[in-house]
């Protein structure tokens, strides 16, 4: 099939560059400069999709972002699949592969359309909810088939080969839209000296000027566009962004722009010959001032069968003829309520094809364009409208009738016109989307029959977006808005801008017609579509209002009007007008819904940018990370840290070599620490350096225990509460000098504890002289622990390790493996332990030296899992695991760590005197020993006292930590249990979801070495 709708001349296409593409498997030709839509129309492709709900055949209706139906799935390969692309916005390139997103087995013969045709009246709004309500459990099954039947494209199943970027931009004036108003605004702002970003969603800048019949300075309007763009391009302070859609307007003039850099060339950057280049960019623009020059969308009129292929909005007809050299049919009927739409008839006639009639709803239209049409011999039928389109797969005629618009009735007999295209225009709706993204409601203007944007701070409106449509006025309004925006940003223009001369036309007023009355009622007439993408009809809106949905927001949600990627571009105003008519209210009384970002769909690639794979979330490595990797560690994520979880070793069994399981590795590591010596990379522990004359006083206020007498060289364990008395974090703090302390925090709490300290210092006690700094990354921490720890450690340090000289909870400064170190005798395992802090860049040297000396002691590296088992065997808590923000130090049995007699009302003290925190039946930390030693209880399992009680059972607490202990040769757990400390020796039950119930004995939290002798040797 050749391009039989293509004109021999005219348009902004390059006929010397033929491009080949496929649509639904069929090969077609187009030209450089085409969109996918214009190329399809040139080839006479009528049906491009099936509709969402009724599976009706749909053709191309519009020419830009307002296209509701021609939604395509693009991509030649699986990895390059992109759903949700409007054919009207996709530039044609050689080798483009497109498919309809809907229609099975094909758009020509769709099975579901029989459902739509037969069941159309049986599918009112809310159909799916009403029909598939029960049983609820089946909804997932129903939904799967409903979605297959509907469908708006699919995501690729293969990984995206392209890269995407985010750019942070700042400018004085961001101009959105490069039509006459936008170009005028950009020129006047840039000439005043402002830094300007001008973005436009189309392939070329110029907007409506690219297909305008108008002249500027007695030359085609496009010539002026070229001059204006060239001037802006030459200015260093101006950034031009074509193919860039402003999709979201956010608080404080933050605007997200989606720039497509290679999508007009191929379906991947590599395919476009731009291997390694960025496919698209998300510009995050912080603009001092924004000029919104987004223009207006033409509204179609709502009449019966207005969705059959061949029905188009009038302006789109002009665009295809003038910009792409494509006449999308042979015989045109234009139905309109305004003058501007007459351009479509004039363009059609000049292209050498038949204009059957212009049907104008107004009684006496007499504007210049109307006169021009009459002078060209075009039949103008007044006081009438197209009531119904004929045809199934393509328009075959139009039924025209005289109407009484205010009374909403037909008044005359029906005339049937033979045609294959019906262009309609119901007036213009300013594109207010961006202006309402932050919640500002648009305002109705009766004189414009449209909503204009509400006032948004820092945003200026230019041209069509505020209802200024005439070319000369739009240019002037743009220049004004640009100058105002520049002035608001501190830039004054030298003088008034000279504007190109444009003709000013006399127009007769537009009539307020939205839905054309039909001889039958809306419910009985053939479907009159309002929202084409969501298959919302006039009858559906009428029904919704009858069923009691009075708020437009409810009507929207009930009918799906303005949903999805369409965001009500074509249909919203018509829908509101119909709702208003049915509710006997005015449109401003009914009001409008709010538009949401994004204006058009943005690919996930652009949203994600570089924040994917290893850059999705920053990963933090300790100085010893590479060693862990080389020694086969399995890693665990702790916050952003990668910590060794366990170090599986090779094992020989039955003549075969295999890696240890986690259970085997952890058992081996645990026994090594309890019987020999183990080594742990504890560098991720939060470390906060605290200095100042009031540092000690400050510690006394934020910790629950006493700090007044801690001498240099000593270490103390401290518990930190919030002011509600609940434990927030814990750790040791060492006195480095009278005014100098080193606090450690949990790995996950490092940042929040530092912020907590700053909060109290800055807001409550600014009089205290104390300073905090994070030194987590500066110091690597290596723990050497186990009965053999002293022997090994003494080989590599000059510190006197005599047990009387260097006691438990002391710290010493000295050299370890020849480098300066701080060594702390604290223990998180219950064994003799030395925590060695060295500068992070010495860590690997120290670690390797310890291993060189450690071989004879069978020094064993262990990970976080073993650390957890060892600390739990000792009843040592982990804040955030054994506590959850509702646990007091008393609940944990840490009475010894609470200094009630401290003079200052430290954080949490007052709350610990509340009656609630003194209750005896609070959940208290206890140990649990399963009756069956093989059982390892589930963390989070609920505890009950009576396993035979009917559901809901009385829940008494839950398991917080649970492991298998190779030393005890049994599972064991920590748990919080109501009144737990008085229940020692009692049996409790843990019912599991699989129906089994575990039995456990309530025991002390300390399972190993209750007297704490092993760490004191």
């Amino acid at each position: 099939m050749s391009q039989h709708n293509r004109l021999n001349q005219g348009g902004r296409i390059d006929r010397s560059r033929s491009l080949s593409f496929t649509f639904n498997g069929q090969r077609y030709q187009g030209f450089a400069g085409d969109t996918l839509a214009s190329a399809l129309l040139a080839n006479g492709v009528d049906i491009v999709n099936r509709s969402f709900k009724y599976s009706r055949p749909r053709g191309i209706i519009a020419a830009g972002a307002d296209e509701p139906s021609a939604i395509m799935q693009l991509g030649a390969s699986e990895a390059a699949q992109v759903p949700n692309v409007r054919a009207t916005q996709q530039a044609l390139y050689d080798g483009l592969v497109a498919r309809s997103t809907n229609g099975w087995p094909s758009v020509q013969r769709d099975v579901m359309s029989w459902v739509g045709r037969l069941g159309g009246h049986l599918m009112p709004p809310g159909f799916y909810y009403k029909t598939f309500m029960a049983p609820a459990s089946m909804w997932m099954t129903y939904e799967k088939w409903i979605r297959k039947g509907a469908g708006l494209g699919r995501s690729p199943a293969a990984s995206d080969p392209d890269i995407y970027d985010h750019l942070n931009q700042h400018c004085d004036v961001l101009v959105i839209g490069a039509g006459p108003a936008g170009l005028g605004a950009a020129l006047s702002a840039a000439r005043a000296g402002a830094r300007v970003i001008l973005c436009d969603e189309q392939e070329e800048m110029g907007g409506s000027l690219l297909d305008s019949r108008e002249s500027l300075d007695d030359a085609p309007a496009a010539d002026w566009v070229a001059k204006a763009v060239a001037e802006l391009d030459a200015m260093e302070s101006v950034t031009l962004l074509p193919r860039t859609t402003a999709n979201g307007y956010h608080d404080h003039n933050f605007v997200t722009l989606h720039e497509r850099r290679t999508e007009h060339l191929a379906d991947t950057a590599a395919g476009a010959g731009r291997e390694g280049e960025v496919r698209s960019r998300l510009h995050r623009v912080r603009a001092e001032q924004v000029v919104l020059a987004s223009g207006a969308h033409e509204r179609p009129l709502v009449y019966a069968n207005n969705d059959v292929p061949g029905n188009m909005v009038a302006g789109a007809v002009s665009t295809y003829i003038r910009r792409y050299g494509v006449v999308p049919g042979q015989k045109l009927v234009l139905t309109t309520n305004n003058d501007h739409a007459y351009r479509a008839a004039l363009d059609w006639q000049e292209a050498g094809r038949d204009v059957v009639a212009v049907v104008d709803s107004r009684a006496n239209p007499d504007g210049e364009l109307v006169q021009q049409a009459r002078d060209s011999g075009i039949r103008v039928i007044t006081g009438s409208a197209v009531m119904e389109g004929k045809g199934n797969q393509r328009v075959s005629g139009a039924r025209v009738v005289a109407i009484d618009t205010p009374r909403f009735v037909v008044t005359g007999s029906i005339e049937e016109l033979d045609c294959d295209t019906i262009a309609s225009s119901g007036g213009y709706s300013p594109v207010v989307h961006l202006a309402s993204h932050t919640g500002k409601r648009p305002q109705w203007r009766d004189d414009l029959l449209g909503f204009v944007p509400g006032e948004v701070k820092g945003m200026h409106y230019a041209g069509g977006v505020q209802g200024i449509y005439a070319l000369d006025e739009s240019l002037a309004d743009g220049a004004r808005a640009g100058a105002e925006a520049a002035r608001a940003g501190g830039f004054e223009a030298a003088g008034a801008m000279t504007l190109p001369a444009a003709a000013s036309r006399r127009e007769s007023a537009t009539e307020a017609l939205y839905q054309v009355p039909h001889e039958k009622t809306s419910l009985r007439a053939p479907k009159q579509f309002v929202d084409f993408q969501n298959d919302v009809t006039a009858a559906a809106i009428e029904l919704a209002t009858r069923e009691g949905f009075e708020s437009i927001e409810h009507v929207k949600r009930y009918t799906a009007l303005g949903f999805g990627t369409d965001q009500g571009k074509l249909g919203n105003i018509n829908g509101m007008a119909i709702a208003a008519r049915c509710l006997h209210r005015s449109i401003p009384e009914v009001g409008t819904t709010v538009f949401r970002p994004n204006y058009t769909p943005v690919t996930f690639g652009a949203i994600v940018g570089r924040h994917c794979r290893e850059l999705f979330d920053p990963e933090r490595y300790t100085a010893l990370h590479q060693w862990h990797v080389e020694n086969g560690a399995e890693f665990e994520d702790v916050g952003q840290w990668k910590r060794p979880w366990y170090f599986p070793q090779k094992r020989r069994a039955d003549g075969q070599e295999r890696l240890e399981t986690m259970h085997e590795a952890v058992a081996r590591e645990c026994l090594a620490v309890r019987q020999g010596v183990g080594i742990l990379d504890a560098s991720t522990l939060g470390k906060i350096d605290i200095q100042g004359p009031d540092a000690r006083e400050f510690l006394g206020r934020v910790y629950t225990n006493k700090w007044a007498k801690l001498a240099p060289g000593r270490v103390r364990y401290g518990v930190m509460c919030k002011d509600d008395g609940m434990v927030m974090d814990d750790g040791t703090t060492s006195c480095l000098g009278d005014n100098h302390f080193l606090m450690t925090t949990t790995t996950g709490g490092a940042a929040s504890v530092l912020e907590w300290l700053e909060l109290w210092h800055q807001t409550e006690w600014p009089e205290l002289q104390v300073y905090f700094n994070s030194v987590t990354d500066h110091w690597a921490t290596i723990t050497v622990t186990g009965p053999e720890a002293r022997k090994l450690f003494s080989e590599v340090t000059d510190i006197d390790l005599d047990r009387e000289q260097f006691k438990f909870m002391d710290w010493r400064e000295g050299r370890v493996a020849g480098v300066p170190a701080r060594v702390f005798r604290i223990s998180f395992t219950g064994e003799l332990a030395f925590e060695i802090n060295v500068q992070a860049n010495y860590a690997l040297h120290v670690w390797k030296t310890l291993f060189a000396h450690g071989e004879k002691y069978d020094l064993t590296p262990y990970g976080t899992e073993t650390m957890h088992v060892l600390r739990a065997e000792k009843g040592l808590i982990i804040a955030g695991q054994d506590t959850d923000g509702s646990v007091t130090p008393e609940d944990l049995g840490m009475h010894w760590a609470v200094g009630y007699d401290k003079p200052f009302a430290w954080i949490g003290k007052r709350a610990l005197n509340r009656p609630d925190t003194a209750r005896e039946d609070r959940k208290q930390l206890v140990g649990l020993k399963p009756k069956d030693p093989k059982v390892v209880l589930e963390e989070g399992a609920q505890i009950v006292l009576d396993p035979d009680q009917a559901i809901p059972m009385t829940m008494m607490g839950h398991v917080t930590s649970s492991y298998y202990s190779p030393v005890l040769e049994s599972g064991f757990a920590l748990a919080v249990l109501k009144g737990g400390r008085k229940r020692m020796g009692e049996t409790v039950y843990l019912p599991m979801s699989n129906g089994t119930t575990h039995e456990a004995e309530v025991v002390s939290t300390i399972f190993v070495d209750p007297k704490g002798e092993r760490q004191n040797v």
Binding site: E755, E758, T763, N913, R914
Partner: protein, 129 residues
């Protein structure tokens, strides 16, 4: 996303650098031991949730690490002023109109009304040594 003027850094930065810490000007009872459970509960748990002008505590977490206050309109999300710790707001729900009368300095571009510099600069010094 907010664009926030940090009164310590003296410039506007992206919201990503900041972290909100709830309602501003919550005073801890001076003598916690001797206040009633009700007073203590009010201090701990009860916060305003106004429609309109709200004073909030923020911290420049990924910047100077200083806490400061923001007066923000919760309906428009406009930030009306930012001011250091120890200062009182000039824009309040009761006196929302005052800022025009007093001609409080506005940040460049008219975006954000910035509180006057602290009257008592000592409050904001890092080292009252």
């Amino acid at each position: 996303m907010f664009y926030i003027f940090c009164p310590y850094c003296d410039e506007r930065r992206e919201e990503e650098e900041f972290h909100p810490s709830g309602q501003a000007h919550i005073t801890r009872p001076a003598d916690p031991e001797n206040c009633s459970d009700e007073e203590w509960g009010d201090y701990l748990f009860f916060r305003d949730n106004p429609r309109g002008i709200h004073h909030e505590l923020w911290v420049h977490r990924l910047g100077c690490r200083k806490f400061f206050n923001i007066t923000r309109d919760t309906t428009t999300y406009e930030i009306l002023e930012t001011y250091p710790m120890g200062e009182r707001p000039t824009v309040t729900a009761e006196r929302a109109g005052v800022r025009q009368e007093q001609g409080v300095q506005t940040a460049d571009g008219g975006w954000q009304t910035v509180g006057a510099r602290p009257e008592n600069s000592k409050l904001n010094e890092e080292t009252p040594s």
